[in-house]
Amino acid sequence: MNDHTQERPGNRLDEQVHFAAVDEFLAWGKENSLFYLLFATACCGIELMQAGGPRYDVDRLGMIPRATPRQADLMIVAGTITHKMAGRVRTLWEQMTEPRWVVSMGSCANSGGPFSKWSYSVLNGVDKYVPVDVYIPGCPPRPEALIDGVMALRERVRKYRTLGVRETTPHIVAGHEAPFGGGGCAVPPVVEKAKE
């Protein structure tokens, strides 16, 4: 080791070595690699697709689309969920490895949206079947809104403790009041188990 290399910025020991609690370190890693399940059902799926496109490029947030739920940390429910589809959503969610998060994207997934009143076949919100962490309003939300929702979720992921005490904040909503039907999960025991 000569003096020359030691003087270069970023090469000193205290710049290279950081001390952190294991929990914080794991949370930091999770936060920056939220692989999401490629799960587009309806209109919002196109905005999700464009969010992954060259202009919005959610890859830079560490969000890489995964085709299989077993490799995904995050399920973005982008679009309407009908009664016929709802069981499948639940199955997909159960196949995801823990810890897992769910973002409900768009009015349909939040509450049924424009279909909540007159439709006979649309589920009034995906939170009847899976626990939702972040609701993003809009019909469809812009990709910016999706990214905003993901940033809100990252706050939540950062507080997640793998070893320590589990954080139990209520559902958070990006930029909006809790929508109609929100928080009404029909499967509470499984919801609580999700973050253990």
Binding site: A42, G53, R55, K84, R88, F115, P140, R142
Partner: protein, 395 residues
């Protein structure tokens, strides 16, 4: 060789594709029974996105249904709006007292936005098909161009995807200032970009050979199975509603219709996946030309919105309270083919029946036939080449 001859023992494997599968363009489920790598039977299962849009049409007022037409086909929402609005206008025209004349500028804007949206819709179609086959980069190029169309629409009506822009009697807003210049600038750079896109994927021999001779549909089959739009033209049927049953301003525009003619060369067949793909690319070119022609015809704006020449929106509120009693069938050429509305009115402000016939529905109807005997890997190619948008099937 028939599939029966290839499976002497009848050993088959059932493969469940979807409803969550990245290559099914939504929530289409296909149950494939395969013999090794060859598809023996294919059973599509629909309804995972059945949102009862036709029932909603029977519950709300005539103009309030327009936002729901966006959701029938969100990839080309402008065309979906236009199809419904034209049908309602045709219903009103069956009684001379309630007939509506859309202002000329409104007609021009309608054609302009419909063709721009056809471009962006076909971009998703060809990009997603390339992605299904395995080439990811062309998809990103297509999405980048689609963003530019979205920018124009966002300035026009404030939405990126579900526009609710075309209304009964015209369009919701006039063109913004410098819209013509921006659209021209977009078209200029878009044509250069398409040359690059074609160099990237269309002329690629791997891609061409992958699509050539896969799932060919003959012209007679295409007609009998009710294929419409680019899928029908890909099979060599020279038919386009914009030209042959022209509506709106299309009668003045002399639409040129590309037809599938075995573009893949000596390995291909008329009506194979590559023909359907190339027909879409040629339609994009034609849409670019139609946009330019329409901009030349665009009259200057008038002060009054319902001015017969320079206005953009005729007044229809009186007619829609009491439309003529009866029924009407009106079809238009959407990017995924014929979008036909069959409306029944009982003379009140609420429709009695709204029926929407879409191109993807009949395309899905032929799946079980064309997929018989192809390779499993080609299933996604076929889905991509028919350009399925699931809410169009399920509604």
């Amino acid at each position: 060789m028939t599939i029966e001859a290839m499976t002497p023992n009848g050993e088959r494997m059932t493969l469940n594709m979807g409803p969550h599968h990245p290559a099914t363009h939504g929530v289409l489920r296909i149950v494939v029974e395969s013999d090794g790598e060859v598809v023996a039977t294919c059973t599509p299962d629909h309804g995972y996105l059945h949102r009862s849009i036709e029932k909603i049409g029977e519950c709300i007022d005539w103009p309030l249904f327009v936002p729901y037409t966006d959701r029938v086909d969100y990839v080309c929402a402008m065309n979906a709006n236009l199809a419904y609005c034209l049908a309602v206008e045709q219903l009103l025209a069956t009684d001379a007292a309630s007939a509506v004349k859309v202002p000329l500028r409104g007609e021009c804007i309608r054609v302009l936005v419909a063709e721009l949206n056809r471009i962006s819709s076909h971009l998703v179609a060809v990009g997603a098909m390339a992605m299904d086959v395995g080439a990811y980069t062309p998809f990103l190029h297509a999405i980048a161009q689609r963003e530019l169309v979205n920018d124009i629409f966002e300035k026009l009506c404030g939405q990126r995807l579900t526009y609710n822009y075309v209304t009964i009697g015209g369009v919701a807003f006039d063109l913004y200032a410098q819209a013509s210049e921006e659209i021209t600038r977009f078209l200029d750079q878009f044509e250069r970009e398409m040359v690059r896109f074609n160099k990237l994927i269309t002329t690629s021999t791997i891609f061409r050979d992958r699509c050539a001779s896969v799932a060919p549909v003959s012209a007679a089959e295409a007609i009998a199975w009710g294929l419409v739009g680019p899928n029908l033209r890909g099979s060599g049927v020279d038919w386009d509603l914009r030209r042959d049953e022209s509506y709106g301003l299309y009668g003045q525009l002399a639409v040129r219709v590309p037809v599938g003619q075995c573009f893949a060369g000596r390995h291909g067949k008329v009506g194979d996946c590559f023909d359907r793909y190339v027909v879409r690319l040629l339609e994009i070119q034609e849409s670019v030309r139609l946009c330019r022609e329409t901009l030349k015809l665009l009259p200057p704006p008038a002060v009054k919105a319902n001015d017969p020449t320079g206005g953009y929106q005729a007044d229809v509120s009186r007619q829609l309270k009491k439309p003529p009693k009866g029924e009407v069938h009106c079809r238009t050429e959407a990017p995924r083919g014929e979008m036909g509305y069959f409306l029944v009115s009982d003379g009140t402000k609420v429709p009695y029946r709204v029926r929407c016939r879409t191109g993807s529905f009949s395309a899905a109807g032929i799946f079980h036939k064309v997929m018989r005997g192809i390779f499993l890997a080609d299933v996604v190619t076929v889905i991509g080449s028919f350009d399925i948008v699931v809410p169009e099937i399920d509604r």
